[in-house]
């Protein structure tokens, strides 16, 4: 039983506090968003599994009073796939770094999306590799600085949302750590959604991204996030983005929320057809 109100204590693993994250790191704000979403959905934490990869963001599973798995770099979604398939009753949430999800783990992301397996990926996108000390990520904007792009990045960034949509994710949203109201709601929507959902949260890494790109401290970075994004008709499906309106801005909001046969269900259908009724479902 969870207490009413906004006391997140039952959702957080007290013994692991304080977190490892740096002062002002946005990852804590996202973790709070996930906890808030879990609370608002009233989920039984015995039946929640949080599966992370490696990175500052990958440490998130440690902070939830749930079944928690801290796997290898980039592979969390593959671990989560096995877990979810044998134990479909678990609500599986996968906090991922931008490098974790789109550099080394890009393939598992698009395949999970293609299968439409009922897992919620929350991408902690700070535009950099935080854990290893500030190298470029596939999400680092062109010309941004990092320790491996000291003269400015010459590689364009992925658009996570477009990639997730193209790969077949059925719930796709982007928000920021500035948007403390929308963010937990979008995550809650993603958890509720039956199918593969991706919520990209633009997060601040004051220690590396902020410092290397002279964006100031955490409070400054929140404003930076506010100013470089524009909300598109939030909380409703938004199939087409009119690019001209958005010049210089990243769209945020809910980009897709669509039902399509879910993978575990599909598999259970197969089991039924094969006569293997023993399977728990």
């Amino acid at each position: 039983m969870t207490k009413p109100g906004v006391d997140l204590t039952p959702y957080l693993r007290q013994e692991m506090m304080p977190t490892v994250w740096c002062p002002g790191c946005g990852h804590g704000i996202i973790a709070r968003g996930i906890a808030t979403a879990l609370m608002s959905l009233g989920l039984d934490m015995d039946q929640v599994a949080v599966v992370g990869g490696i990175g500052c963001s990958g440490r998130a599973p440690f902070y939830f009073e749930a079944n928690a798995m801290h796997t290898t770099h980039g592979r969390a979604l593959a671990y989560a796939t096995g877990l979810k398939m044998v134990n479909p009753g678990l609500t599986v949430i996968v906090p991922m770094g931008d490098g974790d999800s789109m550099a080394i783990g890009g393939n598992h992301l698009i395949h999970a999306a293609r299968r439409n397996i009922d897992i919620t990926a929350v991408i902690f996108n700070n535009s950099i590799y935080g854990m290893t000390g500030g190298q470029a990520a596939p999400t680092s904007p062109l010309d941004s600085r990092s320790t491996t792009s000291p003269m400015g990045s010459i590689e364009p960034a992925f658009d996570t949302v477009e990639l997730a949509l193209a790969a077949g994710a059925t719930y796709v949203a982007r928000t920021t750590t500035f948007d403390f109201q929308e963010m937990p709601q979008l995550i809650a929507g993603a958890i509720r959604h039956h199918g593969f959902s991706v919520v990209e949260v633009l997060s601040q890494c004051p220690t590396y991204y902020g410092r290397l790109n002279k964006l100031g401290e955490a409070p400054d970075m929140l404003l930076y996030e506010r100013d470089r994004t524009k909300l598109l008709e939030a909380f409703g499906p938004l199939p087409e983005i009119t690019r001209e309106e958005m010049v210089g801005k990243l769209p945020i909001g809910l980009f897709r929320d669509e039902e399509r046969p879910e993978y575990v269900d599909q598999y259970h259908g197969l089991v039924a057809r094969a006569g293997g009724g023993k399977h728990a479902s």
Binding site: K3, P4, G5, V6, D7, L8, T9, L12, M17, P18, T19, W21, C22, P23, G24, C25, G26, H27, G28, I29, A31, R32, F180, Q181, P206, E217, A218, P219, L222
Partner: protein, 84 residues
């Protein structure tokens, strides 16, 4: 060694502060509409004049470190600034 949680109350609203977890990032300080938050020498959060606190909870949602909890409690109030 964990410092006890501080509890502040106004009507049925209660603001709890777990100072131990504070890392001194200044986010709450900048966003508190009543401007009553500041950092101490050890770069830990200090709640100043609580009588000016409007119990809005902004500090809680802005803090990356779960330092603040704002909730409504039904039970009779604890003494302001008392410990749990």
């Amino acid at each position: 060694m964990k410092e006890p949680t501080l509890h502040y109350q106004q009507g049925d609203r209660q603001l709890s502060v777990q100072r131990d977890w504070c890392k001194g990032c200044n986010l709450c300080v900048e966003y508190c509409p009543s401007q009553i938050l500041s950092l101490d020498d050890g770069e830990r959060i200090v709640v100043g004049d609580i009588s000016r606190c409007i119990f809005c909870g902004i500090c809680a949602v802005r803090c990356p470190d779960f330092v603040f909890t704002l909730e409504r409690v039904a039970s009779p109030a604890l003494a302001m600034g008392g410990t749990a």
